[in-house]
Assembly symmetry: none
Homo-oligomer: 215 residues x 4
């Protein structure tokens, strides 16, 4: 019957069980890989995690949020962190592209990305947050490499590196969603060429390059 509220910040009541939390996210990842986003049900998640449905609903408002957190909680294969920029722009861009497509060899990663795409379609509020989270680490890595290119004089300083990174990330995502076959070595090389040429130093005052003069 005491109505005194604790002064300290720790709330009364049983604290959240981290094991349940982790089991739920693991179940989401498994089910996403096996049955896909549309056929993933919260009922199945709870069952597989040996958890009451209410425990899921207590912490996540919707299936999309669940998938989002599962993806962001370290279950999404991340870019290799050990490949630092070499200073060779072409090699660096090629390495990034190869790495990005390479990670798509893991079915769980592909399933998570597709799930996130579907989740984003369901969550107006933070769709761009979700996409940012998916692509940011990769994107930042690419931006770093391009910035090194600027330093080495291989990349035009006027280039908006963000636009380049987003475009490349979009191209990769597109292949995943459209379920295109993995790119061939030629495809990769063409993409490398497009990007490296596209960001190369340009004559001041003109948006186009030497080809313009051939007109």
């Amino acid at each position: 019957m005491s109505r005194v509220v604790a002064v300290t910040g720790t709330r009364a009541g049983r604290p959240r069980d981290p094991r349940a939390h982790a089991a739920i996210l693991a179940a989401v990842r498994d089910l996403l890989t096996t049955v896909g986003y549309e056929r993933l049900t919260i009922e199945a998640v709870a069952a597989q995690a040996h958890v009451g449905k209410q425990t899921v609903y207590r912490w996540w408002p919707a299936k999309s949020a669940l998938v989002a957190e599962a993806a962001l909680a370290g279950y999404l294969a991340m870019p290799r962190t050990d490949s630092d920029p070499t200073g060779d722009l072409v090699a660096d861009v090629r390495a990034w592209i190869v790495d990005a497509y390479g990670r798509l060899a893991d079915p769980a990663t592909v399933a998570l990305i597709r799930g996130l795409a579907a989740a984003a379609a369901d969550r107006d509020s933070d769709a761009d947050l979700l996409y940012a989270q998916i692509t940011r680490p990769s994107r930042d890595q690419l931006v770093t490499r391009l910035a090194a290119g600027v330093t080495h004089g291989q990349v035009d300083p006027a280039t908006d590196l963000g636009v380049v990174a987003d475009t490349l990330a979009g191209a990769v995502l597109y292949r995943v969603l459209a379920r295109r076959p993995p790119p061939t070595a030629d495809d990769v090389e063409n993409l490398v060429t497009l990007v490296t040429a596209g960001v190369g130093r340009r004559t001041p005052g003109g948006a186009a390059h030497a080809g313009d003069t051939g007109r």
Copy 2:
């Protein structure tokens, strides 16, 4: 998506009612716009179209097929057909990009694209078909313009135009799915620069970029 009718003679029985067919597709488009793919139900489609559920199931096997046909049956805003290549590569690419983003001003178009993305995530079988249908008209138009660029000597003949078109389409699709704000004039210009520079004539025999020559 609808059942193929035998070429040899018309079968007996009441023929398919085209009014019901159209009403269903219209209901799909409306519901996609208002509630989105995930919350679109066949029950609601049938109710809104004043049609029995069986009439829907008779002609479409799944929700994704319904959405696909709704998108392909003229409900998806198509690229303007009246803008022929001018021969000015920069202007042509810019026109294409502006046109592509411009069509996204229609909420119904955006809803259909998102719906198709979700449907494709659910249907391995025809994901690339769906994406091809969404992006092909646009994509072909861009390829045509780039090919004109080749003719005019503005585009390197070695360029794989398909890769360029896919990359640009992916970048646009990415912005739609991620619900990014509409691109600014600067964004567009940066994208134009990236692409036009990327496809420009290069020194033969090398993947090296324009910057190489300027050094």
Copy 3:
């Protein structure tokens, strides 16, 4: 798409399946007997009847309604119809009481009566209807016998037979609900005496009998 309404009274759509209807009521009776009203769940009813939950909810608004119909649909053991009034008031009343208590030997009957009591507690609207249905056949039979008693001059014509019948029915119901042990022969005899004496011919103008004079 035709909007013409049929002239006939038969509604469109698939008609109600009487087999599902019967299976549900049978399941209710079984479960009522085995687990009792409180632990009877609609989920279990549907499962046992091999029926979808919605089919139950489509026709019955609540568990209480379900139990009510199960009881009234012939699943409640009824009074023997072959025992006509003999004209001997004491024998007739005794026969009625013995019969009433005898029917309580069937566990299903007892379970149904208890379930109806609980259901009536849940259904303000028609609790007295429910009780009337439970007790009416018995009650009417008793009223018939007492009426014969009036004809034979054994029962005071001023007696409100309904009050008598309700009182006796209430006494029986009370024993069921209170789970009293079955009445002994003496109990029955005492009850017979109470009633037969209570309805006996009285001197006109007075509510009480000879005992009054002792005052």
Copy 4:
């Protein structure tokens, strides 16, 4: 219903809070009146009493026990204790009946009785205990009055007063559960007649009624 406390010395630890105890019972009575037994939940009781659920479960094993104690802890309107037998059998019986029905004017009393009936239906173990507790004070009072009638020669000494009292109590309970409208003055009078006549002095050695005497 609450746990028995050892007589030998007070145990260590915080003593039971009587305010919580009382608040719980009050909440039970309120909820029983407002929502009824079926929709009364322990969760709601705890919330309304500003008490933790565990505090309820610590002292009461089940909803029925809670309702039982609420009824017995002075929340059930009791018979008036100031009306002693006058020696006038008819007046005494009439007073008892009027008093019994009069107490049913209080909605909380009616709700408690209905709740107890439902609880008893759910708990084989103490159904008769519950009923005894509800009806005993009333019942005993009636037996006392009838016993006075025996003394005054108005009641046949062979009468089993318990059977009479139970029958009358059952009749009253029946009206409550069946939600019959309050009895009219005529109904009361008829019931008084039935009982007073039924228990009146009879000719020795026969179960026959007053009418037998040919009067």
